[in-house]
């Protein structure tokens, strides 16, 4: 299980491949891999988005991401889990978050992947500031 919060841009597909290759004993154990990748759009709530700055509360983010991952691992029979989340300045088209789950069968992989992304979105302390055509704005209510 690996969790990383990083200011660096990342390629989720390379990360998934590298993680899978680096886990001794994983090959042969899983029959399903479920992946969610969240990417920055160039539109939100009726405005064009040029860039987004993600602020977070580092020690709290790490703690809560770990807890969500542990909960998923306790609830479903999963073989491995990878979570990568960006912070800092992002541009449209860049991946924001990646969740990958390896499991023997697809039900557990899908369910755990969905659980991790949904829970981290409400529990991990990240805040979005968008740079739109009309200037900077904090996104504090989702529509």
């Amino acid at each position: 299980m690996k969790i990383r919060v990083s200011a660096e841009a990342f390629d989720p597909w390379q990360e998934i491949e590298r993680h899978q290759a680096g886990q001794a004993g994983l090959a042969g154990k899983f029959g399903a891999t479920a992946v969610f990748v969240g990417t920055l759009r160039d539109f939100n709530q009726g405005a064009g988005v040029q860039a987004m700055t993600l602020e977070h509360y580092a020690p709290m983010t790490g703690k809560h991401l770990q807890r969500v991952a542990d909960e998923a691992a306790a609830r479903w029979p999963i073989e491995d889990l990878l979570v990568i989340h960006r912070y800092g300045e992002l541009h449209p088209g860049e991946p924001i978050v990646c969740v990958a789950v390896w499991s023997a069968h697809r039900d557990a992989a899908f369910a755990a992947c969905r659980y991790v992304i949904d829970e981290l979105k409400t529990r991990a302390p990240f805040w979005k500031q968008e740079l739109t055509d009309a200037g900077r704005r904090w996104v504090e209510q989702e529509k």
Partner: protein, 78 residues
Amino acid sequence: MSITVRFFASIRERLGKGEDNIDIKGIATVADVWNKSAKIPLPPNVLAAVNMEYARTDQAVRDGDEVAFFPPVTGGAR
């Protein structure tokens, strides 16, 4: 007792500071920490955490605690 206070996102910008250290005498809650450091009324939608755990504003604080205040986290529409 000594409390480390942290503010994030729009709250940080509004108060013009991201971090503070305050000294409070006697029994105090999260709301007392806000009042002493922010010096404006606590906005209704502000979330709080004590030592990285979400907390209610009536939770008691202890010497050495880190108390954080921030807007609702924004995860995006489903």
